[in-house]
């Protein structure tokens, strides 16, 4: 049985894979390492220190970062929650409601935020809010985030719903459950892994967004990415590396959670 193995092997592919991972990780790992640098010069290594992390929380920029973090997390939680609810309803409509008028167009609409280039969405949103006289601020960021979070929440939720057979709901309805009861008591609990993973992905996407936020945020309001961008424009300082590493950690934790929840849900099936 040597032959089937050989068919899968191409010289150099392993090396290119390693190269791919090195390219993807090297910049992040190097910034994470330098965020622990004791030296004030950002490139000379002066020993291990946590002082830039202390600086993030207590330094002169601390209030700015704290407000930005509060804004970022509030918006991410709010937008991801609403997007998850909307996406769940949409997934039920697409997977469990038979045919209806506008179904194909609905799917296109859900995916639209993924297809329109981010810069176009950003410009269009700004023009829209200004024209209708909506004051740009936290609320406009929230609405814009909600819109582009919907497809990210929808994908895992819909995938999960497709893999849950509808026999349990059928049985419940044969026993005189109303459709709402069948949904709430049967489908929803079965959907929990998909819904959680959709929520987490929407949360990360909202937390990470820079471009659209930067257009609709209005004066004086910052989220973490816009605050970081503003500081970077004046040069990369060590405290930016520390806060970047923290945000990186948050993303990694949430992706990992989403990954394990999604896998746990699949293996149970």
């Amino acid at each position: 049985m040597i032959k089937p193995l050989d068919l899968r092997r191409f010289t150099g592919f392993r090396a290119l894979t390693i190269l791919c991972l090195v390219v993807l990780y090297a910049p992040l790992i190097i910034v994470a390492i330098y965020s622990f640098n004791d030296s004030t010069s950002i490139t000379r290594w002066g020993g291990f220190s946590l002082k830039w992390y202390v600086d993030v929380f207590t330094g002169p920029d601390a209030p700015k970062f704290r407000n930005a973090a509060i804004n970022s997390f509030t918006i991410a939680i709010g937008a991801a929650t609403c997007a998850t609810i909307i996406a769940t309803a949409a997934a039920v409509a697409m997977n469990r409601a038979g045919r209806f008028r506008g179904k194909v167009a609905s799917l296109a609409l859900i995916n639209l935020p993924l297809m329109v280039p981010e810069i176009v969405t950003a410009v269009a949103s700004l023009i829209f809010f200004i024209t209708i006289g909506f004051k740009t601020g936290l609320m406009t960021i929230f609405i814009a985030h909600l819109v582009f979070c919907i497809p990210f929440a929808y994908l895992p939720i819909s995938a999960r719903m497709q893999s849950v057979p509808d026999v349990y709901e059928q049985a419940a309805m044969d026993l005189y459950a109303t459709p709402w009861e069948a949904f709430r008591l049967i489908l929803l609990p079965l959907m929990i892994p998909g819904i959680l993973s959709g929520f987490l992905l929407a949360f990360i996407i909202s937390l990470d967004d820079f471009l659209i936020t930067n257009f609709v945020k209005g004066a004086g309001i910052e989220t973490l990415p816009t605050a970081i961008f503003g500081s970077v424009k004046q040069g990369i300082k060590p405290n930016i590396m520390a806060i970047s590493t923290l945000l990186l950690g948050v993303s990694v934790v949430f992706v990992t959670l989403s990954w394990f929840i999604g896998r746990a849900g699949q293996s149970k099936n």
Binding site: L7, P27, V123, L146
Partner: protein, 305 residues
């Protein structure tokens, strides 16, 4: 994931009749806050500019005229083609195309390598590629900027190795922007190609080998055509965001590496703000992107699979 779904599950009609009602929030939010704004932006591109940002509601073709035609300093000379903005678009298309090419060059072997690991370690490899996909693009771009600065770790490392004797100035070059785009969107190539390769039936390779094809011939004549839908999907996922990218050209590039994203942004943020012109540039970008997506959809509908 979807492939494991039992047949018929998606045709379930348990909540028949509730479809439109359940879809209403999607229509409301995406309709009002995305479709409507894009339509409004289309209208804005035909309005007259107000000098302090914003618009005057008078219909004009001035924005498109400014984009495509040069009428001299006072606007009274015979119109000639204005190359500045077409050049910026052309550079963006070129950079995005090149990034797509390099992503495919590295992404396909990576996807193949991962898909041919045994089932126990495959998820670990895949997870390693997935993490950067979800990590903040701003932080990734800033990290790249830090890495390739004139006095950054990459130059220090190369100097220490003795490969170079003077630090390379990479920042503000087309190369830096290219590297940034490649690095930003590489995971977008690996994941869809992986999904296609994972479904590849190795009986095809065995058949090719029985007919005396070597592995590289099999790759060229059998594997690549079979996994083409995944490759095309990956190329679109890299090309489209690269074309309108803002962070990589803005943070890693300079005035000579200007791309569409920065051109549009400048119209709304900078002192030289010209909203109708920005809206027109955004419309042209959107048209190119929708054109690419439409071509792809049509090729798929024709049975391009």
């Amino acid at each position: 994931m979807a492939a494991a779904a039992p047949a018929g599950a998606t045709r379930s009609e348990i909540y028949r009749g509730n479809g439109p009602r359940l879809m209403l929030p999607v229509w409301a939010f995406i309709g009002i806050f995305l479709v409507l704004p894009v339509l409004l932006m289309a209208i804005y591109s035909f309005l007259t500019k107000e000098f302090r940002g914003g618009v005057i509601w008078e219909i004009t073709l001035a924005a498109y005229d400014q984009f495509f035609l040069d009428r001299g300093l006072f606007g009274d000379e015979p119109p000639q083609i204005e190359w500045t903005y077409i050049g910026i678009f052309w550079r963006s298309i070129w950079q995005a195309g090149l990034a797509t090419f390099f992503c495919l060059l590295i992404g396909f072997p990576t996807a193949w390598f991962i898909a041919t690991r045994n089932a126990a370690v495959r998820p670990v490899w895949l997870f390693l590629v997935t993490i950067p996909y979800w990590v903040n693009l701003l932080i990734r771009t800033v990290s790249m900027k830090f890495l390739i600065r004139d006095t950054g770790p990459l130059n220090e490392f190369l100097l220490w190795l003795g490969v170079i004797s003077e630090p390379l100035s990479l920042i503000n070059t087309n190369f830096a922007v290219q590297l940034g785009l490649f690095y930003s969107y590489l995971p977008f190539m690996v994941l869809p190609v992986y999904a296609a390769v994972e479904r590849y039936d190795f009986a095809l390779s065995e058949a090719a080998a029985d007919l005396y094809a070597d592995n590289w011939t099999t790759l060229r004549l059998v594997i690549l055509p079979v996994v083409k839908p995944g490759i095309v999907a990956g190329c679109i996922l890299v090309f489209v965001p690269s074309l309108g990218a803002f962070l990589a050209p803005d943070l890693l590039g300079g005035a000579k590496t200007f791309m569409i994203g920065s051109l549009i942004e400048e119209q709304f943020k900078g002192a030289a703000g010209n909203w109708p012109f920005g809206a027109a540039a955004a419309m042209i970008l959107l048209t190119i992107v929708l054109g690419v997506l439409l071509l792809h959809a049509r090729a798929q509908a024709k049975g391009g699979r």
